[in-house]
C-alpha cells in the first residue's frame, strides 16, 4: 500500500512551517497593536484634545493604579461573577432545551412562535423590570445574561442536532444502535461543532448582559464604573474599563479555543492549515 501512502493528503503534516506561520501572524498582530496605540498616543494632545480620547500611556497608568491601589478586583469579580453565573446557567439550560426540542417535533412546533417572541424582546427593556423584581445586586444581572446566552446556545444546539447528516444516523441504525446509543455516539458528536459555535458566539452577549444590567441600576461592577467615570468626564477611566472588558472576552475566547482544539481535533481544517494551503 505504499503507493497510497504517498498520495495521502495530509497525514504527515510537518510542524515546522505551521509554527513559523503562527509566529508571523503573532508578530503582525503585535505590529498592528503598536501602530494603532502609537498613533493614538501621538494624536492625543496634537490632533485631538486628550480630554476627549485620553491617551494609551495615561490609561496604562490608570489601570496599573486601579489594580494595585484601587478596587479593580472587586469591580471585576462583580461583573465577571454575574457574567459567568448567567453564562453557565444559559449554556446548561440552552443545551438541554436544544436537545429536548430537537427530539420532539411536536414540542418544538408548539413552542416555536413563543420562543421567537420572547427572544425578540430587547433585553435593555427587560433590565429595569429585573431591577424591580430582583433588586440591584448580582441576581438581576445573572438573569439578564441568562436570557441572552440561553437563546444563542439553544438555537445553535437545535440547528446542530437537526442538521446531522442522515447517512450517519442511518448507518448507526443499520449497525444496530438503539436510540440512546444513536444520540450519545452519533448525534451529539456530530453536532458538537454547532454547539461550540453557539458557546463562542454567546460570550460577547454574556458581557453585554452583565454591563446593561449594571448600567440600569447597580452599586458595583465594570459597567457601573464606566458609567460613573463617563458622567465625571473622565475618559481615561472609561477607556480603562473598556480595555479590561476587551481582555475578558479575549481571555474567555482563548480558553474556549483550547477546549475546541481538544474536542474537535477530528475536524480537517484548523484556521492555520487552510490559510496556509491557499
Amino acid at each position: 500500500m505504499s503507493i497510497e501512502a504517498i498520495d495521502l493528503p495530509m497525514a504527515k503534516k510537518t510542524e515546522a512551517p505551521a509554527l513559523s506561520y503562527r509566529s508571523k501572524v503573532g508578530l503582525t498582530r503585535l505590529a498592528l497593536v503598536l501602530v494603532v496605540f502609537g498613533f493614538w498616543e501621538f494624536a492625543s494632545g496634537s490632533l485631538f484634545s486628550t480630554f476627549w480620547i485620553s491617551k494609551p500611556s495615561l490609561i496604562a497608568a490608570y489601570i496599573f493604579k486601579w489594580i494595585f491601589y484601587g478596587d479593580f478586583f472587586y469591580q471585576l469579580s462583580f461583573t465577571f461573577g454575574s457574567m459567568i453565573a448567567g453564562f453557565t446557567l444559559g449554556t446548561v439550560l440552552g443545551l438541554l432545551a436544544g436537545v429536548v426540542l430537537s427530539r420532539s417535533q411536536f414540542a418544538s412546533d408548539v413552542l416555536d412562535p413563543f420562543l421567537v417572541a420572547i427572544n425578540g424582546i430587547p433585553r435593555v427593556a427587560l433590565a429595569p423590570l429585573f431591577v424591580v423584581w430582583f433588586g440591584i445586586d448580582m441576581l438581576p444581572k445573572i438573569i439578564l445574561v441568562f436570557t441572552l446566552v440561553f437563546f444563542v446556545i439553544f438555537y445553535n444546539t437545535y440547528a446542530g442536532i437537526k442538521s446531522v447528516d442522515r447517512r450517519f444516523t442511518d448507518l448507526a441504525f443499520v449497525m444496530g444502535a438503539n436510540a440512546n446509543e444513536l444520540f450519545r455516539k452519533v448525534i451529539l458528536p456530530a453536532s458538537l461543532p454547532h454547539i461550540f459555535l453557539g458557546i463562542k458566539l454567546s460570550i460577547p452577549y454574556a458581557l453585554i448582559g452583565a454591563i446593561i444590567g449594571e448600567f440600569v441600576a447597580s452599586s458595583a461592577g465594570l459597567g457601573w464604573k464606566i458609567q460613573m467615570e463617563t458622567s465625571l468626564y473622565n475618559t481615561t477611566g472609561t477607556m480603562a474599563g473598556l480595555i479590561v472588558m476587551m481582555f475578558i472576552v479575549v481571555a474567555m475566547n482563548s480558553m474556549l479555543a483550547v477546549m475546541e482544539r481538544q474536542l474537535l481535533r477530528w475536524q480537517p481544517t484548523s484556521r492555520f492549515a487552510t490559510a496556509q494551503s491557499q
Binding site: E4, L8, M10, R167, V174, G176, L264, W266, P268
Partner: protein, 276 residues
C-alpha cells in the same frame, strides 16, 4: 436464465448449499400527491450461504431500495425478506457498506472499526484485538489513529469494509462501494475484497452499475430491469477462483458473459433513459 456446461466451478458447488437470504415478491411503491411510483415490482431472489451475488441494473432502477429494505431502512409495500429463516431481519446480522465514504469523522479509523463492536458490548480489550487484526488485513495498521480526513478515499473505503466485516455479520451488503474511486484504487480494492471474501467465506450481496466489476467479483450475476425494477435475468459466473482481476479479459467465459449481459443491460438502460 443461462445454465452453462457442467464445470466444477464455484456456481455449481453452490447449488448444494442452503439458502441464507430470500426475497419473496418484494414490491415497493412510493406514493405522493402526484401519484405513485413503483420502484420494485415483485423481486424474488434466493441467496445461498457463502455466495457472492452481484446485482447490476440501470441507475434509478431500485437497486439501493432493495438493499435499504434488506437492512431495515425502508419497509416493503408487499412481499417478504427472510434472513436465516427469520421474518424480521436482525440488523445486527448485516454488515453494510454504503456507496459514499461514511466513516464517522469524529472517530479515528480504529474507533470507527470498533463502532459496531461497541454496539454489541464487546469489552475494550477484545475490540482492540479484533480491530487490530482487521486493520492489519487491509494494510491500515499504521493509520489506526488517523482521523478520516487524514486518509485517502481508498483507505477510507477499506475502513468501511472492515467495519462492516469485523463483527462477523451473517451477510455483507455492499452498495456500489467502489463507485467514487479512481480506476487503480478500484482494482486494488476489488482484489482486496476477493482476498477477504476467500478468508471469511461470507455471503455477499454486491450492487454495482459496473458490469465488469459484477462479473469479476461474483459467483452469480443478477440483472435488474429499468424501473419498476424486476429481475431480468440471472447468470452463474463460471470463472475459476482465485481470480486475477487484471487478467480476466483473457478469460473466454468472462468475455462471453460481458458481451451477452452487456446487451441486456444496454437495453434496460435505454428503457430507463426513455430511449426506445
Amino acid at each position: 436464465m443461462s445454465q452453462s456446461a457442467d464445470l466444477v466451478t464455484s456456481s455449481s458447488v453452490l447449488q448444494d448449499r442452503h439458502s441464507i437470504l430470500k426475497f419473496t415478491d418484494v414490491i415497493k411503491k412510493y406514493s405522493s400527491e402526484r401519484g405513485s411510483i413503483v420502484a420494485l415490482n415483485g423481486i424474488s431472489l434466493d441467496v445461498k450461504e457463502g455466495e457472492f451475488l452481484t446485482i447490476v441494473g440501470p441507475s434509478g432502477c431500485g437497486k439501493s431500495t432493495l438493499l435499504n429494505i434488506l437492512v431495515g431502512l425502508e419497509t416493503p409495500s408487499a412481499g417478504a425478506v427472510v434472513l436465516d429463516g427469520a421474518n424480521t431481519v436482525d440488523r445486527k446480522a448485516v454488515g453494510y457498506v454504503m456507496q459514499n465514504d461514511n466513516l464517522y469523522p469524529w472517530r479515528t479509523l480504529r474507533e470507527n472499526v470498533e463502532f459496531p463492536l461497541e454496539l454489541r458490548n464487546i469489552p475494550a480489550a477484545e475490540r482492540r484485538r479484533i480491530s487490530a487484526r482487521y486493520l492489519e488485513k487491509v494494510h491500515l495498521a499504521d493509520f489506526a489513529d488517523a482521523y478520516p480526513y487524514e486518509l485517502s478515499g481508498g483507505m477510507r473505503q477499506r475502513g468501511n469494509i472492515i467495519r462492516a466485516l469485523c463483527f462477523s455479520p451473517r451477510i455483507l451488503v455492499m452498495d456500489e462501494p467502489f463507485g467514487p474511486l479512481d480506476a487503480q484504487t478500484r482494482l486494488l480494492l476489488q482484489n482486496l475484497l476477493l482476498g477477504l471474501w476467500a478468508e471469511e467465506k461470507k455471503t455477499v450481496l454486491f450492487i454495482t452499475h459496473d458490469l465488469h466489476e459484477a462479473i469479476a467479483l461474483g459467483d452469480r450475476l443478477v440483472v435488474l430491469t429499468a424501473r419498476p425494477g424486476r429481475i431480468k435475468s440471472s447468470h452463474p459466473i463460471d470463472i475459476p477462483r482465485p481470480r486475477n482481476i487484471r487478467h480476466l479479459h483473457e478469460n473466454a467465459a468472462y468475455r462471453a458473459l460481458l458481451s451477452k449481459v452487456g446487451d441486456e443491460l444496454a437495453e434496460e438502460i435505454q428503457v430507463q433513459a426513455g430511449v426506445h
